[in-house]
Amino acid sequence: MKKIKYNKYLTCLLILVVTSHFSCKKFLDAKPDQKLAVAEGLTELQGLLDNFAVLNQTTGGTGEACADNYYMELANWEALPYPDLQRIYTWEKDNLFAQDGRINEWNANYTAVYYCNSVLSGLERTARSPENHATWDNIKGQALFFRGQFLLRTVVLWAAAYDEGTAKQDLGIPLRLSENFNEPTTRASLEASYQQILLDLNLSASLLPVKATLPVHPSKPAAYGLLARTNLAMRKYEQAGRYADSCLNLYSKLMDFNQIDVEASFPFQQFNEEVILWNRILAPRLINQSNGKVNPDLYNSYHDDDLRKKAYFDTNSDGSHRFKGYYEQLAAPFGGVATDEIVLIKAECSARAGNVSAAMLALNTLMVKRISEDKFSNYAASSPGEALTLILNERRKELLWRDLRWMDIKRLNKEGANIILTRKLGDKTFQLQPNDLRYALPIPEDVIRLSGIPQNPR
C-alpha cells in the first residue's frame, strides 16, 4: 500500500519534470525584446547595411586634416580639446588618434568592415533561390563594396603610398575578412591589401544593379568609380581611366553651377545629381568651419569667373575664408563617390596616356559647368604635359573637403611633384617632406598593444 503511494508521487514528479522540460523549450525561445533578430535572412542583412550611422555617415577625415587645404590659427589650435587633435595638425610621429573611448577612424573603418563581414557570413546561412537571387546578389555586392571602401580609406591613411616595386614588402593593413572576432589581427603586405580591395570592388561591380534606389546604397557605377579611385591611388592610370569610363558610361550627370544659387550658405543638396554613392564624414574639428580656414594660396588660385569661388567659400569677419561647398547641405565633408571626381580621373588618365584631345574633352565637360556661362571658353593644351598640369590644377580646386587630397599628395609626390607641406603655429614652423615616413600615419597605439601588429616605421 505504502509503496503504491510513493510510486504515485514519483509518477507525478516525473510527469511534472518531463512536461515542463518540453514546454520550456518553446517558452524560453520567445524573444526578450521583439526588436531582436539574428543576422540571417535578407531583410535583416539589408537592415544591417542600412545602418547609415555605420556605413554612410562615419568618423573619418583624418586625411583631410593632415592635408593642405586649410590652416589653423594658433589660438584655435591651442583651444582644441584633445592632444591627439593638436598632434594631427603637426604630423607628430605618434599618438594621433583618440585612445580614451572616443571613436577614431581606425575604429570606425573596422566596425564598418565587421558589419560587411557579418552580412557576407549571414548570406552563407541564407539560401539563394530563384525568387530572391536578385536581392541576394545585390546585398552581397553592397557588403563587398562597403568593405572595399573602408579598406581603401584605411590603406590610404595607415600605409605608405603604393609603389609597384616595393608593395610586396611594404606594410599594408589588417585584412579582416571573417565575422570571427577571435581571429588575431595581422598586417598584410601593401600589395595584398590593394589586391583585396580590388577583388572586393570588382566582385561588387558584377553583383550590384546599374542604378540604386537611393545613393545611400552602392550601385555598379559607384563600384567602378571606387575602382578608378583605387587604381589612381596605385598609380595604375590605364586601369583607373578604364574604370572611370565604365562608371561614366552608366552615370555621368554633372551639376551646372550656373543653375545653382552659389550665394546660399550651403549651395549643394545632400543627394545632388553628382552623388553616385553617399557618404558623410564626421570629421575632426580641425577642419570645421570655424577652425579650418581655407589655405589663402588655394583661395587665390580661383579666377573670379569661376563659380566655385562663390559656391565653395564664404568670407570670415577677419577676411579669411571658410569652406561651405559641402555636397551635404550642412557643414560635413562628403566622402562618397561623385561624378566630378570620376570625370577628373578620366581626364587625368587620358592625359597621362598622351591622349590630349580626350583629356581636354573630359576636363571641359566639367569646366563648362563650373565657369560663369558668359565667360567660358574651352580649355586647351598643346601637349600631354600641359594638359596634365591643367587637369591636376583643376582637380586640386574641385575636390575640396572630400578626403581625397591626402591620397593625391602621397601619389603625386611619388610622381615627383615635390609637394612640401608646411604649418605655422605662432613662430614655430613644421614641415612634412615628400615621401616622409610620417605619410603612413601611426596606427593607434592601443591597437598595436592589444593586437601585437607592427607599427609603421618612424
Partner: protein, 565 residues
C-alpha cells in the same frame, strides 16, 4: 507641448524659410506638439510544489520539489502629432521623410517624428529539489539541486539553463554529548559544499541584432549589433566549501554562529579591452581569471543584562580576502587597470581581485608645478609614455583591495521600562579607493570644478605642500590621465560609521484601561549620522567617493507614532 512652449516654437521656427514672396513659411503646422505614449505591464507567476515528510524509527526524511515559471510582458508605443490644438482637437501633418534646410545656418535635417513601439517579454523557469535525511536527530545529510532558465540571453541560445547544487552534512553535538550539560542549548556543526555555474548575458549562441527603427533615408528598418556570439567564452564556475558552528548558550542569553569558507571561481568573467580592429567595440567580456576567496563570518547576539535595564548586543564580523590565482589574458598594460569607477579584475597573481593601482609619483616639478612620474626610478614628464605601454601592471604601485577585507556592524539596545534606545555602528577596514581631484580636461571643456583646485600649485615652493598640479593651458598630452591615477590620489578607505540611533517609548495599556489601541510606540530616529572615524585625511566619505558628483546622504531625522489596534 503647448504651442507657446520653447520646444514647439523652436521646431516651428527651425523649419521655416522664406517662400518666393518673401513670407516665412514653416514645414511644421502651427500649434502645439502632442506626444502620446502608452505602456502596459502584465506579469504571471505559476508555482507547483511537492512536500514530503516522513518519520519512522530513528529516521527522518523530508523532501521538497517543485517548479516555477514567471513571465513579464511590457508593451508600449509613442506617437507624435504636430499642429495639435487642444481647444478644437485640430491637428496637422508633416513630411518626416525629406530633409529641409533649417533656419539658423541653412544645414538640412529631418523633422523629428518621435514614434516608437516597445514589446518585451521576460520569462523565467526554475526547477528545484531539496532533501534532508536525519538519523537519531543527530546526523543530517542534505542536498539541494536547482536549475534556472530564462529567455534573457537572446533570440536563440544554447545556454538558457544554469545549474546549481549543494550538499552537506551536519552533526548535532549538543544532542550527542551535551544533552544534560547545563547552559548549552544548541551546538551544531555543519559542513557544506556547493557548486554553481554562471553564464553571462553576453554569451549568446548566435550574434543578435537590434532593430533601430526605420532609417530616415530608406524608410526601412535598420539594425545594429546587440550581442556578439563568442564561441570562446566559457561558463564561469564557482565552488564553495563551508564549515560552520551554530551555538546557543546560557539559557539563550548568548547565541550565534561562526562560519569559515573557501570559494574558488574559475573562468571568472571580466571586461577586458579588445583590439578594435575586430570591429566589435573597445571592450569585451572574457574569461579572465581564476580566483580564490577565503573568509570567516561571525554572528553573536547577546543579552548582556537582564534586570531593570535590559542591554543586548548584536555583532556581525566578516573577514574576506580574495586573491587572483591565475590570469588568462596577456595585455598587462597598467592603464587597463586604472579605471575611474568600478575596478577591473586584477592581473597579478596573489593580489586582490579588484585591486587599486597607481602610477608612481615623482612630485610636482618645482619650477612649473607639472606632475612628474617615475619610470624605472627616473623622473619623467612624458605622460603618454607613462600611461602607455611603458607602465605594465607590475610597474605600478599596488595598494590593496578595493573592497573591504574586514566588514562588520554592531548594534546595542538598552531598554529601561518603557524606554529603549538603539544605536548601530558599521565599519569597513583594510581597503583603498581612488579619490577624485580637479580634472583640468573637464574644467576646460565643461567647467566642472573641484575643491582641490584651491590647493593647486601656483608658485614655486607650493610643491612642498601640495600634490595638485598647476593649471596649464594647453595641457600636455596624457597629463590629465596620468596624475588622476597617480599615487597621491589613492587613500585608505577604512572607516567607522554611526548608522542610526533610535529612541523608542512603548506603552501597553494594562488590563482594565480602555484605549482604542493595543500598543502604542512613540519613536524618534537619526539616520546617516556620518563617520566617527576615517583613515583618510581629506574629509572624504569613502562610500560616496567613486563618482565626481556623488554626495553623501544628508542626516535624516524622523519622529513618529505607531499604534497597533
Amino acid at each position: 507641448m503647448d504651442k507657446d512652449s520653447y520646444y514647439a516654437r523652436n521646431l516651428f521656427n527651425l523649419y521655416s524659410a522664406a517662400n518666393t514672396d518673401g513670407v516665412a513659411v514653416s514645414k511644421i503646422p502651427p500649434g502645439g506638439i502632442l506626444d502620446l505614449s502608452e505602456s502596459g505591464i502584465r506579469a504571471n507567476q505559476w508555482r507547483g510544489q511537492f512536500n514530503f515528510d516522513k518519520n519512522w524509527g530513528y529516521h527522518q526524511l523530508s523532501v521538497l520539489t517543485g517548479a516555477e515559471t514567471r513571465e513579464t510582458n511590457t508593451t508600449g508605443n509613442t506617437y507624435r502629432t504636430f499642429g495639435y490644438d487642444s481647444d478644437n482637437l485640430a491637428f496637422g501633418s508633416v513630411d518626416v521623410t525629406t530633409t529641409y534646410p533649417t533656419f539658423v545656418n541653412g544645414s538640412s535635417s529631418f523633422i523629428p517624428d518621435n514614434r516608437s513601439f516597445i514589446q518585451q517579454t521576460l520569462r523565467f523557469v526554475s526547477l528545484f529539489a531539496n532533501g534532508a535525511y536525519t538519523y537519531k536527530e543527530k546526523y543530517t545529510l542534505s542536498g539541494s539541486i536547482r536549475r534556472d532558465a530564462s529567455n534573457l540571453f537572446g533570440v536563440s541560445t544554447n545556454n538558457k539553463w544554469k545549474p546549481l547544487w549543494s550538499t552537506g552534512v551536519s552533526w548535532n553535538i549538543a544532542k550527542e554529548w551535551l544533552e544534560n550539560a547545563k547552559g548549552v542549548e544548541e551546538l551544531k556543526l555543519r559542513i557544506t559544499y556547493g557548486f554553481s555555474g554562471n553564464t553571462d548575458p553576453a554569451r549568446v549562441a548566435v550574434t543578435t541584432l537590434f532593430n533601430q527603427g526605420n532609417s530616415v533615408y530608406t524608410n526601412s528598418p535598420f539594425y545594429s549589433f546587440d550581442q556578439f556570439a563568442n564561441p570562446d567564452l566559457k561558463w564561469e564556475t564557482v565552488s564553495q566549501a563551508n564549515a560552520g558552528l551554530d551555538f546557543t548558550f546560557l539559557n539563550h542569553r548568548l547565541s550565534g554562529s561562526i562560519d569559515g569558507y573557501i570559494k574558488t571561481a574559475s573562468d571568472l568573467f571580466g571586461v577586458v579591452p579588445v583590439d578594435y580592429t575586430t570591429g566589435v567595440g573597445f571592450q569585451i567580456q572574457k574569461n579572465v581569471a581564476k580566483i580564490q576567496g577565503k573568509g570567516i563570518d561571525l554572528v553573536i547576539n547577546s543579552q548582556n543584562t537582564n534586570g531593570v535595564i535590559k542591554w543586548s548586543t548584536g555583532l556581525n564580523l566578516s573577514y574576506h580576502k580574495d586573491v587572483v590565482k591565475e590570469y588568462y589574458q596577456t595585455d598587462l598594460n597598467a592603464a587597463n587597470f586604472m579605471t575611474q569607477g568600478n575596478p577591473r579584475v586584477s592581473a597579478v597573481e596573489g593580489q586582490a581581485i579588484y585591486g587599486i593601482y597607481a602610477y608612481r609619483w615623482g612630485g610636482l616639478e618645482p619650477s612649473n608645478g607639472l606632475p612628474q612620474g617615475l619610470v624605472n626610478g627616473e623622473l619623467s614628464k612624458d605622460y603618454l609614455d607613462i600611461t602607455g605601454s611603458t607602465t605594465q601592471i607590475s610597474d605600478a604601485k599596488y595598494y590593496g583591495s578595493a573592497l573591504p577585507v574586514y566588514y562588520g556592524s554592531m548594534g546595542n539596545t538598552i531598554a529601561y521600562k518603557r524606554f529603549s534606545i538603539e544605536a548601530r555602528l558599521l565599519f569597513k577596514l583594510g581597503y583603498y579607493f581612488r579619490r577624485s581631484t580637479i580634472d583640468y580636461a573637464s574644467l576646460y571643456s565643461q567647467w566642472s570644478g573641484h575643491s582641490d583646485f584651491a590647493r593647486r600649485w601656483q608658485k614655486p615652493g607650493d610643491e612642498k605642500s601640495t600634490d595638485i598640479p598647476a593649471m596649464t593651458y594647453p595641457m600636455p598630452a596624457g597629463m590629465s590621465n596620468f596624475y588622476q591615477n597617480a599615487e597621491p590620489f589613492v587613500s585608505k578607505g577604512d572607516h567607522i560609521r554611526l548608522q542610526y540611533i533610535t529612541l523608542n517609548y512603548r506603552y501597553v495599556p494594562g488590563n482594565g484601561i480602555k484605549l482604542p489601541f493595543k500598543t502604542i510606540n512613540f519613536y524618534s530616529s537619526l539616520a546617516n549620522l556620518g563617520l566617527i572615524w576615517k583613515a583618510n585625511s581629506n574629509g572624504i566619505d569613502p562610500d560616496y567617493a567613486t563618482s565626481y558628483s556623488s554626495l553623501t546622504p544628508p542626516l535624516t531625522i524622523a519622529a513618529g507614532i505607531r499604534a497597533n489596534f
